[in-house]
Symmetry: D2
Subunit: 362 residues, 4 copies
């Protein structure tokens, strides 16, 4: 039995971890922290937990709804850190010092370059020394390194969707390093704190773009796509030219990225066909339990509550572009589900443990 | 391993059974039927099934996404019948004849009185001889009889919500048999066939009442509440006076019934308090894994995708009434989840097998 | 030209007044107040006002998007007060002292009895002396008194829906004074301030009841239905026995009340028919421009953005009850539209001035 | 008084015309046609019309809710044709022959080149001879030609949004003719016929892309942007390279296009700034009553039910791209509102007649 703490359990990524861990046979949540809710029981903050969590396979339930929220985490084997950036790094340092393995859901350890971090997050990095040892927690790319890590930097939701959508094309060297990502996210991506933007009467029946002058997920996407291209023998010169625009959709969960890139042609000016590219994508993800290449445009609702990602590549022959549509549940594969996938790798468990459910549809 | 067929798998109750059975360790779906989709593979009709279903505990997966939809069910141990009424009864007769146990999700075997059935469903009952042996599949009430049944009549969604909400009060004899049930349902309750009423632009941002001249779930509610009162020693004279009005809500899943009843007072004209009634309710449902009495008004979203039901009773001292708010997911505890709960009972399995997940929240 | 101020324009009832007044040929908004937004121009707070407001019929536009929000209202002929209760009363006193006519959208002057007000609003009434002269602004009932008023107490949204739905029945003396009102409202009824309850991910795809231990609109409904019954020669003895339960729906606008009452039978035990009651309702509202008796269950979406109310009465012969479904847009006929209707009456204008648009459908 | 017919009034563009015309002082609807609804009164098909339409300015109301739907239009001065393509062209021919002016909301006369039409619409054009005289009804571009037309080809919804968003940039010659348009539309754009894609439980809480192998609005966009560039002295060589991907959003109304284009730099490699481009846009639309350049990302909800379009251009300095976000209500400025704007021009009325209302917000 592995003991687990959830730091800042009252965030949406924290409560989603509770939901997922309730089905996990090996991890037991023994410590949860919060800020304004310190001293309350989990079931007071999340009344639906009164449904209770059953014991699986003869051991104690993975979660006790009566667990009391504390300010500081108790000693556990593993911690999921669901704090905002900067606060997260401080907590991570303390946890690592006491020997706890950490999956950090914040942005603090995702960017390898301190300067880039400080440019985008506008403050001094609290623990730059850890950047080198932190492993970027995109399991599909870093599956080999994660088991040996003590700190996993769990990717962002826009990031995961986009990188999974474009990695096979960059790995195969079939597109130019000049891309546009138009990403559409459900509102839970904005977190659990009420604000005018997320007030129901304002957000309902509304679509808008945000982050147009630059969104923090962009350098993260650039870093990883550059790495994928290089790792597969198709490095490009200079920086990736990337425009990334996130949009807010009137729904709770789900993220869908539409990615556009110039296709390279072969020596005869011939473009690859959709069938060829789909085959290339299927091969790339052939053994992935959570990434699925499909032959029709996917729907975010296919992924509701699940850890699955669906990807649909298609060639726009007229404009000589590759279009890739990629979607997943922003709180699962885009956050807490992926965090649990990382935790499974950290503890040598099958990657799908506790994550095998299908999306809730309709 | 128990083999299972889903008759009319292309209904929402059928596809929901697929989702739930994918997590079930003992049942394996070996036959699925449809009408217009005969000859297609499951994953063609439900593309999200391409995510695949993992093998649990070393046995074959509960569902094969490549299973081909047939017109008639193959021989299986158990069948879930998801056909509309009348068509369901005909299928049930055939299945029982070949020795298959049946959980019927239609209304055909819910009403014990043929005349009542024929009054409300406007056609001759196709198999009245089966009415006597059919067991009403509300596990909380008929848990003792279900294991020995060969035909279980799975209750309706409005019905389950209302009966669970009012049973403790009728069992305790604290209310008069004169009730109003104002029920609010998500749109998946209307099924998978498109129609103007359920067309997104019409149903979105809209609330309306329907069935005002009489809804078929009403006699079912009356039958069961009358039975509960009698079984607990508080039979009432004459018919239950009941007004039941369903409403359509702009959401996919969830049903919430607000139930109103006159409270009886004691010899001194004193009414029971909310605390006394809550205690009575908690006692009534003390051992139920899926029914939870809560101390704040419940939200349908607490139940999203889960088999749980939350109930909140409160006394309106001013108007001398009992108000009970009861909610659940219409496709799970209101249909397919309850069907699986019944199937577990039929096969001597723990009632919660495959049904232990929490609601997806937010 | 009549000058108008909107006190607390940054509320939803305030901004809705802006939208409606933009189409009004006689009123010109010359003063708007706010709290945290003092010093900003209207178009800064409501960017969609940059669309501009055209001049109608050769006069200046009714609204200037560049109007600056102030803390105190300037001198105007008329003021709409959109403050919360208590704060509203204080503002009203000052406005009346300077000779401004007031339509108050708060609850401060709706209840005629100070004790009832103080019981439900839990504070001392700031201006009890004004209660006598204030006129309750339900135009359909008080059309004769409103033109001579200086202070109109604009009814609440649940209240308007329910009273319009039940008034004809009480006026005709056909029901017993024992009613249940199950009201369903869109989320804009909760105002423009973000809070966890109205946070999109929580409120979306969710239905819940609230105010179960007593909602402030209840005494208002009781007061007015009692008055209607008495005014039409069918006073009842004692208090109206009323249970009122509001519910929150996952939509922005719209309110639908389902009202239940015992029908009286005639000397021979015969109940009125639905046709008789519909005829009675049609007669009652025959000359109303905004209240429409319909022959099928109405939809809140029929009223989106309009000042119309649709009412559908039906007899439940089995349970001997009258059911009335009534719906409207909570921000228009349930608030700002009705306020404008009152203002039209105050200034001798046709009641429909600026209010003639149909609902936006779909 | 100008008499008007609406051909296929039972479409969403038809019913939206009814709503808008109800506020119009000069047009009177004297004929409406349908298919399956022939013989019914308007108010039977659209029950919310029972609210009635008031007489404006002492003349008869613009719409009579009791008007009976016929198979063929009666003789009128003007007709709005709301039929699907091909059927529309046939109706247009007949109407023109009898001297009726026509605003055609279908795609039949939008493309000037017959071959392009036949390539995209897969059938022989029913009336190619009319293509030359038809005027493309984008008022902002063809304001001078529309008044003299007898046939106006009303633009599509995606088209209007995109063209308005990109025209100033092409007119100024500041971008290369290589663009990506990622368009997001509400579901009413799919029309009034129910289908699985638009079935509430499927479309709710879902985002998906469609038309990825080529959408018919694309050649229309290409035609008009090419024309704008040429008309303003910045023609480009060869075809516009354009990728257009529409997406379905879980909301009823609203369309938002995010447009991406390479910015040209000046001789010194310097890009224009956002301020410079916004100024250029503001100048381009300075006198437009319905097109507004804003300084923050616009929301589709700002436009709900109104004829307004909001446009936000911004420079992505890092990637050297222009991003333009453009939004409007697909049923108003994207269809019926623009049709009415065209009709106003045809009859020498102020372009804003009947179209002056603000969006319904929230």
């Amino acid at each position: 039995m592995t003991t687990v703490s959830i730091v800042n359990v009252t965030s949406y990524t924290g409560s989603e971890l509770l939901r997922l861990l309730a089905q996990h046979p090996d991890f037991v949540v023994t410590s949860v922290t919060g800020r304004s809710t310190v001293g309350k029981r989990l079931e007071e903050v999340f009344p639906y937990l009164r449904a209770g969590v059953p014991a699986l396979e003869g051991r104690r339930p993975a979660i006790d709804p009566a667990l009391v929220i504390t300010e500081e985490p108790a000693q556990t084997d593993l911690a999921f850190v669901c704090l905002p950036h900067a606060a997260a790094a401080e907590a991570v340092v303390k946890l690592l010092e006491r020997g706890t393995k950490v999956v950090d859901l914040s942005a603090d350890f995702r960017l390898r370059d301190v300067a880039t971090y400080e440019e985008w997050y506008k403050h001094t990095h609290p623990a730059p020394a850890l950047l080198e040892s932190a492993v970027y927690g995109l399991c599909e790319t870093y599956r080999d390194q994660i088991p040996n890590a003590t700190l996993v930097a769990n990717p962002g939701c826009h990031t995961t969707t986009s990188i999974l959508g474009l990695s096979p094309a960059f790995a195969a060297g079939i597109i130019n390093p000049d891309i546009i990502i138009d990403s559409k996210t459900g509102i839970s991506g904005g977190g659990r704190n009420p604000s005018p933007t997320y007030h129901f009467p304002e957000a309902d029946e509304d679509v808008s773009a945000y982050g147009l002058s630059g969104h923090r997920h962009m350098p993260e996407i650039a870093q990883e796509l550059t790495a994928v291209a290089a790792a597969h023998g198709h490095p490009f010169e200079g920086d990736l030219r990337i425009t990334f625009v996130p949009h807010l959709m009137p729904m709770t969960r789900g993220i869908l990225a539409t990615c556009y890139a110039d296709l390279k042609s072969d020596g005869n000016g011939k473009l690859p066909t959709t069938a060829e590219i789909r085959s290339l994508y299927e091969h790339y993800y052939a053994n992935e339990p959570f990434v699925h290449v499909v032959d029709q445009p996917p729907h975010t609702k296919w992924t509701y509550g699940s850890n699955h990602c669906f990807i649909y590549p298609i060639v726009d022959q007229r404009a000589r572009r590759l279009i890739v549509v990629s979607c997943l549940d922003n709180l699962v594969k885009g956050a807490s589900g992926q965090a649990l996938q990382n935790a499974n790798l950290l503890y040598g468990l099958p990657e799908t443990t506790g994550l095998s459910s299908l999306g809730v549809h309709p």
